[in-house]
């Protein structure tokens, strides 16, 4: 039998048994659509997290005082012993490295912030003008801290959106004075609302110049140095430069911990990718269920069509002819179901995308290829038994039973 004729024959069967065809298309379609939709949700979540990390700052390297043997995932919870403090001089020395674009030393403390009779306990950050670019902060009003020598400071500050509304109660905060501890600062800028990002809610902080924070908290020691490498490729160079420079300055002792955003990001990336694969695999179970349905429907079909099969054998069809007919039929159905499923999955993905516009839902390429292949694979696999049964039918008995 010629291949074109086998295809034509199978096509006639698929068209001839409408209800059965629709049922199988539906089962296969749901299976494939589930794999595509679920894996695109997983992939969307992964991209979302990756982007969130990106918004923290690109090519970020964080320098912590103290040498820590155990490394945690979150920069905020790493605590190491501090044999010697990190100082402003250490930070300024890092500028020697050609791999570093900019850096911002950071001091963090809690301060009693007061405007007239209102007061509020908030986190107070001491840093430099470069913090804004490194952390990708945006201003709602006014300016960030003015640039200049970090060892000297002006009495100015930048406040978070919530701090501004709570303390100034409807009045414009810009240009007004507030008091932190026993020092006075003029508000030169208000941060745009950004919400939480890794430990700090930027809506609820007050940022003052580094030297002012040192005086306020009566310390020389830096909490962190945030460093931005010139490019992704330069992150490793920046890291080794930082370790080198600080070892020199600390008499040959390695007393800092340097972590890169990349390392943290890579961990998240791996976890979420594994998660996507896992849920995609779960959805693929529905494909196996669809395969079993195909087997059942095919077995019923062999029983229903035993006259026809007997006739075909009487007319000279070999066992191989009959088996091939059934396989072709199964592949046609699976192919149709897979196309339907891809279309439905894509629609579902667009629909979910409308509900959660901030998450970039996209089906990963492996799911788009693997789902239809799995569908066709299961269809062929599960039609082996029915096809063999059909090929073995005895033509005399198949024709005689009415």
């Amino acid at each position: 039998m010629r291949l074109a004729d086998t295809l034509g024959f199978a096509w006639q069967v698929v068209r001839g048994y409408r209800a059965r065809t629709l049922l199988i298309l539906l089962a296969m379609g749901i299976g494939v659509a589930a794999v595509v939709a679920v894996s695109s949700i997983g992939e969307g979540a992964r991209l979302y997290v990756v982007n969130q990390f990106g918004s923290l700052g690109t090519h970020l390297v964080i320098v912590l005082p103290g040498r820590s043997e155990t490394a945690g995932a979150m920069p905020g919870v790493l605590i190491g012993k501090t044999p010697r403090d990190l100082t402003i001089e250490d930070a300024l020395a890092l500028k020697r490295s050609p791999a570093i674009r900019r850096l911002a030393p950071l001091i963090v403390g809690a301060g009693d912030v007061r405007v007239g009779a209102r007061n509020r306990e908030t986190p107070v950050l001491g840093s430099t003008s470069e913090l804004m670019d490194i952390r990708h902060m945006a201003m709602a009003q006014g300016q960030f801290l003015p640039p200049g020598d970090p060892r000297h400071s002006q009495p100015v500050c930048v406040v978070g959106a919530k701090v501004a509304t709570e303390l100034f109660a409807g009045r414009s905060a810009l240009g007004e004075w507030l008091r932190v501890g026993d020092r006075r600062f003029r508000v030169v800028g208000i941060l745009a609302t950004q919400g939480e990002s890794l430990g700090f809610n930027t809506d609820e902080i007050v940022i003052v110049p580094l030297a002012a924070a040192q005086a306020l908290f009566n310390t020389e020691a830096l909490f962190r140095i945030l460093v931005e490498a010139k490019s992704r490729e330069q992150i490793a160079i920046a890291q080794s430069d930082i370790e080198e420079i600080l070892r020199e300055r600390h008499e040959g002792k390695r007393e800092v911990t340097v972590i890169t955003q990349d390392a943290v990001l890579a961990t998240f990336d791996r976890i979420l990718r594994a998660l996507t694969l896992a849920v995609g695999g779960l959805a693929a179970i529905s494909l196996a269920v669809a395969g079993i349905l195909i087997m059942n429907v095919m077995l019923i079909s062999v029983t229903q069509r035993r006259h026809e099969i007997g006739l075909l054998k009487a007319l000279g069809a070999t066992g191989a002819n009959i088996r091939l007919m059934f396989f072709t039929e199964a592949v046609l159905l699976a192919l149709g179901g897979a196309l339907l499923g891809l279309a439905v999955g894509k629609l579902g993905q667009l629909f979910i995308g409308q509900l959660f516009p901030s998450i970039p839902f996209t089906a990963p390429w492996w799911a788009v290829i693997a789902a239809p292949l799995t569908a066709i694979g299961t269809a062929v696999l599960f039609s082996v038994a029915p096809a063999r049964r059909a090929a073995r039918l005895d033509p005399v008995r198949a024709l005689s039973k009415r």
Binding site: R2, D5, A314, L315, G316, T318, A320, N321
Partner: protein, 224 residues
């Protein structure tokens, strides 16, 4: 053309053994028109199935066109049926979703004959059996007589050595039955061999050679 010797066919029905065919000795020459008659259960259909290579005898020897076909496997039997046998059944056995033309074409499709060649043979068969106007109708749109004509055209499509007809008029009224017999007899007049199973004495009497079967054995062989 066909030589059967010592053919036995035994069916097991539960514990019992049923001898459907006992010691059949039969020769059929090319171009013969032969009817097989007998009460139901006499083994005439089983004999037809054995001749048609649909069923295998338990013992004996079957020579078809000078070749021993007793020991062929399933696929070899399929190919032999395709080349040598044309079947006509009581219940027509047309594929319901295919048109008359597609049904007639089916054996040629299974044999893998080129579409061009198929089209030519199909056109000849449609005109020979007066089915041109009905070529694109499905079986449920055809009368019983037309269905059986389609079946005969299908049986003839591969140019078989013999046409085997099992009660071809059994499902038709008298008049249509006569028409179908006329069509079958035209095949015979054209030089074809026809083996006909029937329990209708009037139909059976039309054949030049008439075999009678009782209890799986041939008990009468009349000619002329």
């Amino acid at each position: 053309m066909i030589r059967l010797s010592g053919i036995e066919r035994v069916f097991r029905v539960g514990e019992e053994e049923v001898h459907a065919l006992r010691g059949i000795e039969l020769e059929i020459a090319r171009g013969e028109y032969l009817s097989l008659m007998g009460p139901s259960g006499s083994g005439k259909s089983t004999l037809l199935n054995v001749i048609g290579l649909l069923d295998r005898p338990n013992a004996g020897r079957y020579e078809l066109d000078g070749r021993d076909v007793t020991g062929l496997d399933d696929d070899e039997l399929s190919r032999a049926r395709r080349e040598k046998m044309g079947f006509v059944f009581q219940f027509f056995h047309l594929v319901a979703r295919l048109t008359a033309a597609q049904n007639i074409e089916l054996p040629m499709v299974l044999a893998g004959i080129e579409p061009g060649e198929r089209k030519q043979r199909l056109a000849r068969l449609l005109s020979a059996y007066g089915l041109e106007a009905r070529a694109h109708h499905r079986p449920d749109q055809l009368s019983g007589g037309q269905c059986q004509r389609v079946a005969i055209a299908r049986a003839m499509s591969m140019g078989p050595s013999v046409i085997l007809a099992d009660e071809p008029t059994g499902n038709l009224d008298r008049h249509t039955g006569q028409e179908v017999m006329a069509v079958l007899e035209r095949v015979h007049h054209g030089g074809g061999s026809v083996v006909l199973v029937t329990h209708d004495p009037e139909i059976g009497a039309r054949a030049q050679r008439r075999l009678r079967m009782v209890d799986g054995a041939i008990v009468g062989d009349e000619r002329g």
